[in-house]
């Protein structure tokens, strides 16, 4: 059985201008980036634009990627987060109901035992968190990054990141217990 090439191998090819290798990486990581972009922007259109800008930046800066410094998912999420801070923040914040619908309905509900209504509420609560708390919580609990990786993505210290996470979790617990 032929195993798929690693992210590092593909990025080495991408830095030589290999578009096929880049296409493989896009398909491999696009879902995770899209989900994060959706949670950051709370807008389907902005999320798509943000993901596109991220991949364009990844293509243009492929030679600068260092596998020993950060895994590719971490690097890509950092680019996306920085693009969000640089560009999307300047736009008028738009609460897009479609984004919430996508987050709630487009997941694979059949595969979980959890209460859909509760998950819907939780989605809404996360969407209402302050931006940095929402970003930290999403990266740590929904995207599966470690606290150290989250700190790297957000450009913060590990301590500051843990503080953000603690505040976000406290807010969610309070809202869940208010019920």
């Amino acid at each position: 059985m032929v195993s798929e090439p690693s992210d590092e191998t593909l990025m080495a090819r991408v830095s030589d201008g290999d578009k096929d290798a880049f296409g493989v990486l896009v398909h491999r990581h696009i879902d995770a980036l899209y989900r994060y972009a959706l949670r950051l922007t709370m807008s389907v259109n902005h999320a798509e634009d943000l993901v596109q800008e991220t991949w364009l930046a990844a293509w243009q800066n492929a030679k600068r990627y260092r596998a020993d410094k950060a895994g590719l998912p971490t690097w890509l999420h950092r680019i996306l987060h920085n693009k969000f801070i640089d560009g999307t923040r300047k736009r008028q914040p738009l609460y897009d109901q479609q984004a919430v619908d996508v987050l709630v309905n487009d997941g694979m509900l059949a595969q979980t035992q959890s209460d859909p209504e509760l998950l819907s509420r939780l989605n809404a609560m996360i969407s209402a968190l302050p931006e940095q708390q929402r970003a930290a919580l999403t990266l740590a609990h929904l995207q599966g990054f470690s606290n150290k990786q989250v700190a790297h993505i957000l450009g913060l210290s590990v301590r500051a990141t843990e503080s953000l996470l603690a505040r976000a979790r406290r807010t969610l617990r309070e809202q869940l217990s208010d019920g």
Binding site: D31, Y34, L56, D106, T112, L119
Partner: protein, 105 residues
């Protein structure tokens, strides 16, 4: 071995949420690849065609539609030309009858 964290209801709810996350829309990857700097016209055309299911069908139907249109224009005869042609036919026929020996008829 389960830790206290594993029994935390919030963690369980967040784990549940993690399992129901949406996928990127199908057209997004194509859009990204088609808009890379240096993408050739052929690459963009192929990516555009394959982005949606209906596009190849429409592209295949275009020559058929062009054929219909071309056929419609070519089947529209000039009535005066036809009338002249029939008149010429009559003359030829009349001339051919004159040439006959009535005994042959």
């Amino acid at each position: 071995m389960k830790t206290e964290k594993d029994h935390d209801p919030l963690n369980q709810h967040l784990d549940g949420l993690r399992r129901v996350q949406p996928l990127a829309p199908p057209h997004l990857a194509s859009r990204i690849l088609a808009n890379l700097p240096g993408a050739t016209v052929q690459e963009r055309a192929i990516l555009w065609l394959t982005d949606k299911l209906w596009r190849p069908a429409v592209a295949a139907a275009v020559p058929l539609m062009l054929g219909f249109v071309a056929g419609m224009f070519s089947s529209n005869p000039n009535v005066e030309e036809i009338t002249d042609w029939y008149a010429a036919q009559d003359l030829v026929y009349a001339a051919s009858i004159e040439e006959y020996d009535y005994d042959e008829l």
